[in-house]
Symmetry: D2
Subunit: 450 residues, 4 copies
């Protein structure tokens, strides 16, 4: 009589610890067994994974469920790409309450998301929102994001309030995340280039030199160190950022760096080619930056890869200056990382799982429930066909966006099944999952302070 609900049979199971030929037994929402040869008779259903990889579902800790993809939509496009957990940024704009915002995102997710999720709190007005930080911790939100740039948009937090936030968050053993670019200096460059009459496209990258990103990384980590606060640097885009990160690690500082597929694989040529569609911040840089970031990912300088999924309504030919920042990324992230990283020989397959599943889950206290495949883990997994050749196209993606920065990129390897907590969400490109079952995950960063 079946004691398992499901057996995934014949595949190569990949975790951060390595690759093994194992069958995976699932009962209810969890993985219960991993063994070389599970008797098919034990399960109601057996999925043939011969020739496939079985990966933990991707934990994408950098998503924005508010633009062309709302809470529901982002979970659909994510699931199609092999992502099973997201940590969304919930931004409280000036005048908005932090807790209100977080509760609204949570409720929205519980109602519409197909996938489990956690939240980062984003603060645009630290002075007035800081008081709600302890309440956010009680709710299960332990990471807090501010911008060191975009002063003209009124998004920027200055060093006084960034320090204040770090002080309070450190007291609660949380994590501060910063968008690290020196926004006042980039604003000066922008104004200067505008005065000189340069085109918006031409000046876009030039006004955001890598040194201004590395400077902000160094500044944020210095302030965090002074306040005793753990620090997370999303979307490192430049070789120059690796120097302060390596220095911080060598000194034992609590600083953790992320990069994104787009910064590992695309360059300013993409910006030139795609125009406003490729307007993202930080900007795409050079081939040398790509290579240095891969190296940083291989050697542990960078610990996570996330998507920064933020599809916006824009066209390639839109006025570059006025166009909004952002691009769809969550559906392509595993595919692009697998193709460029594993097929390209930049990182090993277990390292891929480390930086996309295990390390993000560990950092935010979701591990081993999420981020790995082990008895007791949530049965969040992806079946991966390493031989499937296909071409990335906006036309076939499931985002609300009608563009992708990878348009036309030929890749090998594709997800053929995405499962969350034992339930298949996407199978062979067909959406099966339904909203209403997602869980809100409380993060926990106290372990960073031990």
């Amino acid at each position: 009589m079946p004691d398992l609900d499901l057996i995934i049979k014949g595949g190569l199971v990949v975790t951060g610890a390595g690759i093994s030929r194992l069958d995976v037994g699932v009962r209810g929402e969890q993985v219960t067994e991993l063994a070389p040869d599970l008797d098919p008779a034990r399960a109601a259903r057996v999925i043939d994974a011969a020739g496939k990889l079985v990966l933990p579902g991707v934990v994408d800790v950098h998503t924005h469920p508010v633009y062309l993809d709302d809470m529901g939509g982002i979970s659909v496009t994510a699931a199609h790409g092999g992502v099973t957990t997201m940590i969304h940024y919930a931004y409280a704009r000036p005048g908005m309450g932090l807790l209100d915002t977080l509760q609204r995102f949570r409720d929205d997710g519980l109602e519409h998301s197909l996938l489990d999720f956690a939240l980062h709190a984003g603060l645009f007005d630290v002075e007035h929102q800081l008081g709600e930080v302890p309440a956010a911790f009680k709710m299960g939100v332990t990471s807090f994001k501010v911008f060191m740039t975009y002063a003209k948009l009124k998004w920027m937090t200055d060093d006084y309030w960034m320090t204040a936030l770090m002080d309070v968050v450190a007291g609660e053993r949380g994590l501060v995340a910063v968008h690290a670019e020196n926004g006042l200096a980039t604003d000066y460059l922008e104004d200067k280039f505008l005065r000189e009459g340069r085109s918006a496209l031409e000046m876009f990258t030039a006004m955001r030199p890598d040194l201004l990103e590395a400077e902000a990384v160094n500044r944020a980590m210095s302030l965090a160190r002074v306040m005793g606060c753990a620090l997370y640097i999303p979307h490192n885009s430049a070789a120059a950022c690796l120097e302060p990160l390596r220095r911080a690690q060598a000194n034992g500082w609590r600083v953790y760096g992320e990069t994104c597929p787009q910064y590992l694989t695309l360059t300013e040529e993409t910006t030139a080619r795609l125009g406003a569609l490729a307007k993202i911040g930080p900007p795409l840089r050079t081939r040398a930056d790509n290579e240095a970031l891969w190296q940083g990912l291989a050697d542990g300088t960078l610990v996570t890869v996330a998507s920064d999924h933020a599809p916006k309504a824009k066209k390639a030919t839109d006025d570059f200056f006025e166009a909004p920042y952002g691009s769809p990324q969550v559906e392509t992230m595993l595919t692009v990382m697998y193709h460029a990283g594993v097929n390209g020989g930049k990182i090993s397959l277990p390292r891929l799982v480390q930086v996309m599943c295990e390390a993000p889950a560990r950092l935010f206290g979701l591990y081993p429930r999420k981020g790995t495949l082990a008895p007791g883990s949530d049965a969040d997994l992806v079946l991966w066909d390493p031989t499937r050749r296909h071409t990335i196209r906006a036309a076939t993606q499931h985002s609300g966006a009608d563009y992708t920065l990878y348009e036309g990129m030929e890749v090998t390897g594709a997800p053929v099944l995405t499962m969350q907590r034992g339930t298949i969400i996407v199978e062979e490109g067909r959406l099966v999952g339904k909203p209403g079952h997602a869980r809100f995950l409380a993060t926990d960063t106290g372990h960073l302070y031990v």
Copy 2:
């Protein structure tokens, strides 16, 4: 009408440059096409590689075809392990002519080997053999090995003659290889420990401390630098060796380091467990050395992995002091490296191919004929099943040796077909190849001097 002799269909082709879903077309002895989808009708035979990896045959540049495995035997055991090219050490002992020795090895190989091969010349009496070095170059032998240890066996070359050899070899744009251990210092430690009554097993590793290996690496590279000679350091066994190698690379010296599967995966516990069987030089060391060597392999400090295959007639219980040095390695090398390296997440799959196929072939001037899969390359390849679980056992290996240092090691991944120049040598564990077709390969190291 078939214009190809063979198509290998549906596999993932792995080279040092990356992983691709490609069919491989073979005509005669060479690869002629690599394409996503070759029409099966074009070939007389189609091999189904679905779910398999297609690797270039391993180029093992460190083999000794003179002990339990002779020229024929070593090619059999090698082919079973996915090796298709070897560079054998042909040692000229005192009183032996260098050229005579090389010719004897060459003729022996042409008659008995199933696999293509090249030769390193080994000199035990540089003073009297040095004059024949230019003739060796004419014959196609461009690498010359001496020992910095084993003085008691009369194998050691002192610094005077090592320098002399480097001088002459540099003039011919060749490579000197050295067994790097300070043999006089290890001899003193041996004599001291013997006087103290320590057991041979207990003192074996202690008398060969890692610093004496690193010292010899540093000495050889200093002398080579002075003489302008390219230098190859086989079988680096210790973390301590990486320091001089990194220093040499940082300074742009022509120094190239090898390690072996046994130094990456085994430790002195193996020596304690297997006794005389595990007597090899340099000795197996510690887990920390394993880890450091993997790191050195990943970051490019070490450029090649070779086997040092030298099976000897001995038993675990033999007197450790009298037992000969050496172990069988060639058949297990790819399996062990794949399992521990790729499954274990130490190196990427393309990096595995780099260090076992591409880099050895490049270093000795055999690339791109050997060491990769590209139009025009010899069709030397291995079909690899990444899911096959098995246990390494002496009983099932094809060496003349009745032992292996990996006895009982459970691994995932196995070769299922080995081909050389379009001819299948081993298929599903069955030997198909025949002697009489092997080619002697002239090496060429002139490119190291550009």
Copy 3:
């Protein structure tokens, strides 16, 4: 018949290049000869320098002639200490014109100073003062100072305007100087500590951690690099500052670091002991910082030593929070540096002359007119008695301040004569010089851009 006005006879002449037993011949305002043995008959006057050192007059590039010592007063106290050239900070406060300010300082100096001087322009309102920068260059002022701290005093320039200033100054091949402390973060710490009820004295150093100084150094040098501007960092006070400075130098950036005698010899114990008198910014730190700064001075990380002379009206027991920043330094600087540095074995005597005379003169384009003793140099020099033991006391100094941070410090070595352009200004503690002869020196930093 005398062809020289003066011979300084029998001394050891010290320059940045070394120590020599030379007589110094002066005619008019210049040194004309240096020779082992000048005939005394050639000069109207011969000064006996047996047992004495003959040093170039100190070039102090960091002085504030506006507090207890005005333009005249500061030149008196400076001359008593062996200083012969100063570069004063002329600060244009909000609402003040840059050029007006500079002209006022220049005129004041020409009228009241006993010593030659140049000027740095200080900007408190870059937005409105930036337009006058080119005019300042025309006037002979090529260095421009802003504060990265003291926001509460409205002295701080933000990164936007600091970048703007660097842009304009780089275009003129000038130098930007910054007070490097992250003022917003220190303000947060101050407010926090005030809320916690800590005493002003206790929190003073704690609210200005070394990392916030190093951060500002890194930030300023990053912005300067982006704008292609040469950068000067006055009064480095912490070991932590050396890391970014060394990194900048290793990368070939145009960044030049200064420290002051107080940061080399005093610690927070001085602050605790002297209370408000020792309130200076950056604050005095630890013995380990002293040692690291000496090391940085010896190895070239720091290139200049200057005084930051800014005596203010305050008493030890004044409310620490309200007390003004600053201390008298110019008269003691050479004595303290000689005693602690040369007698203390921290730096060689020629290195002392390099960092206090030669390098400051070179950096600001005054060399070899100032900063050395060579034929053609201005006869600006100090006779130094290396054996004179004395105790530093406010009571015997010539500043308007009635305190010194070195009160009671026993030292060996003292100036016995100070001369500018051939005219004795101070002799054996007696003031001889008169105002009305000072020259305004145009600086020139174009050489930094070659």
Copy 4:
């Protein structure tokens, strides 16, 4: 009534700790007081040191009292140069007993030397002399020298016996010193160059490349580390040696490096100019080596400066190949170091005293009796006139040699009085001391093992 025998009045006392204006009181053989102002009435004699430096007598740990200067002669020439303690090398050639040799040197010294001395034992035949090492320790000899070069002269010790010596010496907590050059490799180069017909002078430096010296340093320190033995490297001559020394220090190994005035100030141009007179080993190298060695001395990589005084009977025009190695150095060493180092701004005056007095005394366990000026120290001192200009000439030196490598060098600074244990040995160039009062000093290196 006088309670002191002597007061040295009015000078600047220099020790490794710094420079002070102090009078020095001597009673019997020892310094008993150092004070700013000793009452002249307290002493039978007062020496006026106004304008003078008072230095501890130099401790020269590298001397050979067997060539043109015998035990008596070397002490005369040394005393004229400000040296008051020497550690002589007592070489036991093959067939000679170690203890016999040491006793002969000791007795010879007690009879003929004017200065206190200790001994290093030199072994040419470790195999037969090793057994006497423990007896040498009992006699007060704790350092043991072997050569890694000069195989043709039969001076070389191979790695087996060097290791053996290190083993025994480590057991006694002594120090092994090695002449570090790879002698077999230099022999090969010599033979090669001879075959090519190069002139002896031309090939002399070329056959001893710096890398072969650095190699030997690395080898010796590796063997010493393995055996747990403290190691001393005399006469480092090359920039290349600093890398292994720095590495050893960074790793906490017990390795101590010496250099000599000749390697800091002279180059192969001297060899070309002076011919056979400048034949010394290691050879004089380049200006860049000089500079690197000064840097190594300033930053602590090198800990001592010694003379390697070994004047031989030879002429500039002698056959270079046949001429013996060595030059007179002991009389000029302090003068040359003072002029080039202190006057030249390479090192501070206290650092000079550290490397020539304090550190050598400390290393060999003679401190604080020797190497400093403190109450209780032996009254071994030098009065130094920093203003005396003179020219170094063989004609005026007191060695038996009629040459000096510094012939014609103009220097500033000279000793004007040398005293040992309260007795004046040389005063104003006049020898006053007499043999028969020297003491044999037992060294002690046990502190290196703590």
